[in-house]
Symmetry: C2
Subunit: 203 residues, 2 copies
Amino acid sequence: MKYPNGKKASEKFTKKSDAPHHDTSRRGMTLESEINKSNEYYLAYKICNIHKKPTPITIVNVSYPSRNKAKITEAYFKIPSTTDYNGIYKGRYVDFEAKECKSRTAFPFSSIHAHQIKHLADVLEHGAIAFIIIRMTYYNIDYLIKAEDFLLYYNSTDRRSIPYDWIKENGYVIANTYLIPVDFIKTIDDIYFKEDLDDQEDQ
Amino acid sequence: MKYPNGKKASEKFTKKSDAPHHDTSRRGMTLESEINKSNEYYLAYKICNIHKKPTPITIVNVSYPSRNKAKITEAYFKIPSTTDYNGIYKGRYVDFEAKECKSRTAFPFSSIHAHQIKHLADVLEHGAIAFIIIRMTYYNIDYLIKAEDFLLYYNSTDRRSIPYDWIKENGYVIANTYLIPVDFIKTIDDIYFKEDLDDQEDQ
């Protein structure tokens, strides 16, 4: 488990890395609403410009109860062909999917559509900063998994899920604060913009 | 009017730049569907990864006529807080809005929501390639207007629209082919990735 500041889990939690976080302030808020809140903060302070895409739907019927108001009366959810979040940070294109995981032991691949995995691989080829945020709800820890790492595992396994041990080993724990409940930009800074610094620290 | 190859309108159309294009193959297809078709081509050939965002809606009621099928029975359109299109090209974040304009003489600012103009200014600050595609339907010409140019005009005028003369002077004509009906990537190449070359040609 890689911590935001580059420290390994063992340095911080020795033997307790499986202990649930009891951050009651977060209780009841979904990962999506917390990422949205974080993005609003980032936007207001001009840190980055990242948005959740609207839910894709197919509209079948629209009625016009009054002249200026269109009411959708029949529509269906579509399978998304891209991830839910994208935008720009420090000139770089950023793209990610976010999922909550209730299992204590593994993250099932079925949580992410095949289209979305293909999309992550594609934007990566074009030079994106691409990743998946997984909230392990039991432990109440959010992990950032680089798309590179995720795809490597996904393409080399016959398993239907990623073991939590792999996530702890390869994921980066995302900090949370009251103002920025899912501070993934801090994590991006540590991973993608401070590699030189980390190299120095490791020596 | 700047042509894709850097030539000025006068070199190509002398005195005829106002003449309507009679490209009948295009008739009946909307700008949106043509941009989507172009994006599908770009995606298939790994040229870029740009998508239209789904239409933002507020869902009020969902029913479940069968176990696996959710039917949205009441929803309303929301005002978008971002532009419709974004993605990645050659490692750069790309962001744009596309509008058809029926007027022969001017493009009304009311066609674009204030939120979207603010959004363009914001992503520009973060280093995006940002622009507006305007289809002048009478002339059947698609123009790419750099967000920088658009914002400069928008912020310095009391007018409620951009005159067509300004669009011809400052916009870049977007090429259209059967496979790529709105070939804005070619235009991006000419504007953002060939500036050195253009400078040489101008000498």
